[in-house]
């Protein structure tokens, strides 16, 4: 009972923060927090932390037979330094690696650019819709809910030589064969699945913009186009940045879609994930780990650039800077800060 009374006033947000309260509370909460956080961190350490480090180590080793100094055959892993990396950058694996790196980058840039534009348009349409809102919201979720592998098959079927896509455009394009058309097929299928998702995120951002800002601009004689560029876009930019970052990172690890839609060993759509998978399933763990480590660093670099250079605020309002009481005021302040 005594402890209950002692802890009660320390609840966050119960009163404006006073120095005394700040001094006492974190310690006790800290212990409980550590207890509650530890299962998650144990799991993450096991399924994310360990593999990342193991991959780094693995990429420095090479499997299989080799000869030691005295000419004896040595079985098992042996340390090979940066050989795996040299191999994929300049050695025998170079054409595959640079091709896959180019494909990964190309898909990421094109799909995310297209998805952002289409998603933005969808969000503007949904924001305007008053009737039929439930319908449009439900249909936007359908592409998200369909498994990527199933959507890839669906598009493979659509892009058949005598399929409905060719019937609609009145041409005979062999979409799923090597070449630029295969890239287009992947881009179209990916855009279909994820643009609505971007639309949902942007819509949520649009709904945070107070209507009076638009009204004021209209009264001041701004046209629709001007209002979009000068008000909507800057105000929705923080949300858009985070959405684009999530999409970029997702596109960089693209695997299922080209794998099922075009095929596992088609050069024109092979991504870094696919090469790493192929190497791993052929038991060349060392080079698979090198590929996946390169991809990991690529992803980390993009994320870093977005957060540090472009100021994508991933944590957003989750950030613990002030007591919760100040949250609303802070949100409002943030909005104003963006306009200026």
């Amino acid at each position: 009972m005594a402890t209950t009374i002692a802890t009660a006033p320390e609840q966050p947000g119960s009163a404006p923060p006073s120095p005394a309260r700040r001094g006492g509370a974190p310690e006790r909460s800290g212990r409980l927090a550590a207890l509650l956080l530890s299962p998650t961190f144990a799991v993450l350490a096991l399924v994310v932390g360990y593999p990342i480090l193991a991959a780094l180590r693995e990429s420095l080793y090479r499997r299989g037979q080799g000869l030691d100094e005295e000419g004896f055959v040595v079985q098992g892993d042996r340390f090979s330094g940066l050989d795996n990396y040299l191999d994929i950058f300049t050695g025998s694996g170079a054409p595959v690696f640079w091709g896959a790196l180019w494909n990964t980058t190309f898909f990421t840039v094109t799909t995310v650019a297209i998805e952002t534009v289409i998603g933005m348009c969808m969000a503007l349409i949904m924001h305007r819709a008053f009737r039929g809102r439930a319908l449009v919201r439900a249909s936007v979720l359908v592409p998200w809910a369909i498994p990527t592998a199933v959507s890839a098959l669906m598009w493979r079927w659509t892009f058949q030589a005598d399929g409905v896509a060719n019937a609609l455009i009145g041409r005979e394009v062999l979409w799923t064969t090597e070449g630029l058309q295969a890239k287009f097929a992947v881009i179209i299928a990916d855009t279909w699945k994820t643009a609505p998702f971007v639309g949902l995120l942007v819509l949520a951002g649009l709904q945070l913009i107070p209507q009076d800002v638009h009204e004021a601009a209209r009264v001041d004689g701004c046209g629709a186009w001007q209002r979009f560029w000068r008000i909507t876009l800057p105000l929705v930019k923080p949300v858009l940045l985070v959405a684009v970052l999530f999409r970029l990172l997702d596109a960089l690890r693209m695997f299922d879609l080209p794998f099922v839609l075009i095929g596992a060993d088609k050069e024109s759509v092979r991504t870094l994930s696919m090469v790493a998978f192929d190497e791993a399933s052929n038991l060349r763990y060392g080079s698979a780990a090198a590929y996946s480590t390169v991809l990991f660093l690529y992803v980390a670099a993009i994320a870093f650039a977005f957060v540090k250079l472009l100021g994508a605020d991933i944590l957003g309002d989750m950030r613990e800077a002030k007591p919760k009481r100040g949250l609303r005021a802070r949100r409002a302040g943030k909005r104003k800060g963006v306009t200026s």
Partner: protein, 286 residues
């Protein structure tokens, strides 16, 4: 009165303004549903009309669906595997994630921003860089073709997602209630169990749906960790269907299987659309 006072030109413009949003909605709905519609329609065609491009099947048929469930295809088993993997992943994620999210939403402690950053960063890692070493590890300890070999790696994307979603939900709860309960003599644990959990149930439920859908749709982990047909999950099984009717690729059967795998998700999504959207946008917006 005002309408009559307006000149004709402007009333035409205003009617265009009325219709335009509906046209926009129609475009969005068609964009999202047309490919899905085509999958459903193709699933209901007879195998001999499979390559018809008519908007509706000439003759509706369930033949593709019965082909999916032929014993030698083993699709029933694949569905069961998916259910086990996605279900266990969801339950584990929620048990672990709820505690963490509670701490993140309620407690004040140093390094919280760092914790949040770590949680969100782990969800960004490319799955393949986790799979390569885990594949080697699981091969060594004989876990290939087991459920745990698919469930454990699935936690890597499910757990950050769930923690983030739950934290957003928990923050919206009226914490004064919890405090009141503690003043009335509940311990913090009791307050959590009796006050917070019932109030948080909708958020937990939504998170469960989103996590389940993501785990159900997972492909690359299931593809890597399993090479025995009986252990394949549904998404992998569909992609590996071999022709039952002698086409190059049994598209009719695959479309039918795709419908079977997708329609339950779509129904759930339609029922809980409002909640799911709230959950999905939680990660990206706030």
């Amino acid at each position: 009165m005002t309408v009559m006072a307006k000149p004709g030109q402007s009333s035409a413009a205003s009617s265009a303004r009325r219709i335009l949003p509906y046209a926009g909605i129609a475009v969005v709905v068609v964009y999202c549903l047309a490919p899905f519609y085509w999958m459903v329609v193709s699933a209901f065609r007879r195998p001999q009309d499979q390559f018809d491009n008519s908007p509706l099947p000439a003759v509706w048929s369930m033949e593709n669906f019965s082909a999916v469930f032929k014993p030698d295809v083993g699709f029933g088993r694949a569905l069961a595997n998916s259910l086990v993997v996605a279900g266990t992943t969801t339950v584990l994620t929620l048990v672990v994630g709820t505690c963490t999210a509670y701490a993140l939403a309620r407690l004040r402690f140093r390094g919280k921003n760092l914790v949040l950053a770590v949680v969100i960063a782990t969800s960004m890692f490319p799955t393949i860089s986790l799979i390569v070493p885990l594949l080697k590890l699981f091969t060594d300890i004989g876990w290939i073709n087991t459920y745990q070999a698919m469930i454990l790696p699935s936690l890597s994307f499910a757990l950050p997602l769930a923690v983030w979603n739950l934290t957003v939900f928990f923050r919206q709860l009226p914490f004064e209630l919890e405090q009141a309960a503690m003043v009335d003599g509940c311990t913090r644990g009791q307050a959590f169990r009796r006050i917070i959990i019932p109030l948080a149930a909708p958020g937990v439920f939504t998170t469960a749906i989103i996590t389940f859908i993501c785990a159900w749709n997972e492909f690359i982990i299931a593809l890597s960790m399993v090479n025995k047909k009986e252990m394949q999950t549904a998404t992998v099984a569909i992609s590996k269907f071999t022709g039952a009717y002698g086409f190059d690729q049994p598209f009719g059967t695959q479309m039918a299987a795709g419908v079977i795998v997708t329609v339950p998700l779509v129904v759930v999504v339609l029922i809980f659309q409002r909640r799911i959207i709230a959950g999905l946008t939680a990660g990206g917006v706030k």
